[in-house]
C-alpha cells in the first residue's frame, strides 16, 4: 500500500474512546476479524462520512447497525424515543469526532468537512481505496469504521 494511512491501532483507540465517552464502560466495543472485501453484515444500517482535505486527503466513514445508532442517539440526546432526524444528527456527530481525530493523525494542515449521513450502507467512490478498516461488535451488533484515500 503506497497511500499514506493512519495506523489501525490509533484508529481503534479513537473509536474506543468515542464509544466509552458516550456509551459508558458497561458494554465494551470488541474488535473482531473480518476478511477484507466483506460487505457490512447488517440488514439495517446507518452510515456517515466526513472528508479531510489539505495536507492529507481522505474520507472517514462510520457504519453502524440501526440498533447501535438508536442506542447512541438515546444516550447522546438523553431521550427514550428517537426520530430519524435525531439519529442522523447523532451519527453525524459520531463521525465528526472520529474523523476529526483521524485527521490529527495525518500530516496537516487540513480541514474537516461537515458530516453527511444516510440511512443505508455507505457508498464509496470507485476511484477511492480503503487504507484502514476497523470492524467491531458493540452489544453484539456490528460497527465499522473505514478510511479511504483517492487512488493515485
Amino acid at each position: 500500500m503506497s497511500q499514506l494511512a493512519p495506523e489501525i491501532t490509533d484508529v481503534h483507540a479513537i473509536v474506543d474512546e468515542v464509544w466509552r465517552s458516550f456509551l459508558g464502560e458497561a458494554e465494551p466495543l470488541l474488535a473482531r476479524p473480518v476478511p477484507a472485501g466483506t460487505p457490512f453484515d447488517s440488514a439495517a444500517v446507518w452510515s456517515a462520512s466526513v472528508s479531510v482535505t489539505g495536507g492529507w486527503q481522505g474520507t472517514v466513514t462510520v457504519e453502524v447497525d440501526e440498533r447501535v445508532a438508536a442506542e447512541l442517539t438515546r444516550q447522546m440526546l438523553g431521550v427514550p424515543d428517537t426520530a430519524d432526524e435525531d439519529v442522523a444528527d447523532a451519527v453525524g456527530e459520531l463521525v465528526n469526532m472520529v474523523g476529526g481525530n483521524v485527521k490529527s493523525l495525518m500530516p496537516g494542515p487540513s480541514t474537516l468537512s461537515l458530516p453527511s449521513v444516510a440511512a443505508g450502507r455507505a457508498a464509496f467512490a470507485s476511484e477511492s481505496v480503503e487504507v484502514a478498516r476497523l470492524d467491531a461488535l458493540w452489544a453484539g451488533q456490528p460497527v465499522r469504521v473505514t478510511v479511504h484515500t483517492a487512488a493515485q
Partner: protein, 127 residues
C-alpha cells in the same frame, strides 16, 4: 451563571446542556457562530460560551476572534469543545482568545474539571 452552547449537532448540545444544568448554569443554544453572535447582541450576554470549531455559516474560530474584538464581551469566558485536536489548532485557538480547550470525545468530568480550572464552578459541584 449563564452559558451559551454553540454546536451544529443537537445531540452534542444536549449532552453539554445536561452537564451544565447539573452545575446550575442557565443555558442558551446556537447552531453556529453567527446565530450565537446574534443572540448575544440581542439578549443577555453569557458568562461562558462552549464553542465547537467546525460549523456551517460561521465556524467557532471566527466566532471566538469576533467576540474577542468586541470590548463589551470582554468578560465572556470562551471554551472550545471540538474534535479539532492538532497541537497547532489548540495554539491557534488560544492565540485567538479561547481560555480553555476540550477535545471531543470527552466525559462529563472533563467539562467539570475545566470549568473548575476557569474558576466557574467550585469543587464538588457535581454530586
Amino acid at each position: 451563571m449563564r452559558a451559551m452552547i454553540i454546536d451544529d449537532s443537537r445531540a452534542m448540545r444536549s449532552i453539554l446542556r445536561r452537564i451544565l444544568a447539573g452545575l446550575d448554569f442557565e443555558t442558551a443554544e446556537a447552531g453556529h457562530g453567527q446565530e450565537a453572535l446574534d443572540q448575544m447582541t440581542a439578549g443577555p450576554v453569557p458568562d461562558l460560551c462552549l464553542v465547537d470549531w467546525n460549523m456551517p455559516v460561521m465556524d467557532g474560530y471566527t466566532f471566538i476572534s469576533t467576540v474577542r474584538r468586541n470590548a463589551e464581551w470582554r468578560n465572556v469566558t470562551l471554551m472550545m469543545v471540538t474534535t479539532e485536536s492538532e497541537h497547532t489548532q489548540i495554539v491557534r485557538a488560544l492565540a485567538a482568545g479561547a481560555h480553555e480547550y476540550v477535545i471531543k470525545p470527552f466525559t462529563p468530568d472533563a467539562i467539570v474539571d475545566k470549568l473548575e480550572l476557569l474558576g466557574l464552578v467550585s469543587k464538588g459541584a457535581l454530586a
